[in-house]
């Protein structure tokens, strides 16, 4: 198990009611499993399930079977649909 920092942005921060928090997850976990852990902690996040990706090591990862290798202190961000520019 490793402790990683989760960052919430925009709508996801409103639903989770937090901007950042540490969570403990397995060292290897799929992106979907990671998302499900976040929803367990903050059930209101389920509302954006179809319009969200994660950013792990500052690369976008869709929710699915992609296996993530996480290290202590890694940053994972919850990324709702972008609206820059």
């Amino acid at each position: 198990l490793v402790q990683v920092l989760v960052l919430y942005f925009a709508k996801s921060a409103e639903l989770a009611e937090v901007r950042s928090e540490n969570i403990t997850v397995p060292h290897q976990v799929t992106s979907l499993q990671l998302w499900e852990e976040l929803v367990r902690k903050h059930p209101r996040l389920a509302a954006i399930r179809d319009q969200v990706v994660l950013a792990v090591h500052q690369e976008y990862v869709s929710l699915g079977d992609e296996l993530l290798i996480l290290h202590p202190g890694d940053e994972v961000a919850v990324i709702p649909p972008l609206s820059g520019g």
Partner: protein
């Protein structure tokens, strides 16, 4: 003025390239996120170069209405380090597609942006105009699809909505 821990105030990155064209000034990428009001003069001056006949500019401005609702202001937030790295990737892409491009400058404002003010300014210089015009379009289109920045549109009624760019792969308008 106090700011949140992940707020950078004004964050800039400058990258310089070894210049192969024989011109004195090395090509550079300027990527800036700031809570300050943006200056068109500053952004365009940052890309001017004597060997470049063209400077092309895009300015994104807060509109005063959306679907009949009066917009009071926009409020932007960003995943700052990733926004910077994604904007740098756009600069690299631009240079691959338009090798004659000289300087690229992308400034994006964060925090509250009142109506009629600029949220983003992109300036690109090149020897001739078609490259910088095309590169500016590519920059703004790609920024909207890939840079982790979000805006909240705040209406006169005090209600608001988080906008979603249609360019974003995971936006609702793109779901089947």
């Amino acid at each position: 003025m106090s700011r949140a821990a992940n707020d950078l105030g004004s964050a800039g990155l400058e990258v310089e390239y070894a210049d192969m064209s024989g011109c004195e000034i090395a090509a550079s990428d300027i990527v800036k996120l700031t809570h300050d009001k943006l200056s068109t003069e500053e952004v365009s001056a940052s890309v001017v170069c004597p060997s470049c006949g063209a400077v092309s500019l895009f300015i994104g401005i807060t509109r005063n209405s959306f679907e009949g609702k009066k917009v009071v202001e926009l409020e932007y937030e960003a995943y700052i380090p990733m926004a910077q790295s994604e904007m740098k990737k756009i600069c690299l892409d631009v240079r691959q597609k338009w090798p004659s491009v000289k300087h690229i400058s992308i400034h994006h404002r964060l925090g509250v942006v009142p109506v009629a003010e600029a949220s983003v300014i992109i300036a690109i210089s090149s020897p001739h105009r078609s490259e910088s015009l095309e590169a500016v379009k590519y920059c703004i289109d790609t920024l909207k699809a890939t840079v982790p920045i979000w805006k909240k549109e705040i209406y006169e009624t005090e209600d608001y909505s988080w906008k979603e760019n249609k360019e974003c792969r995971w936006a609702e308008s793109r779901q089947k």
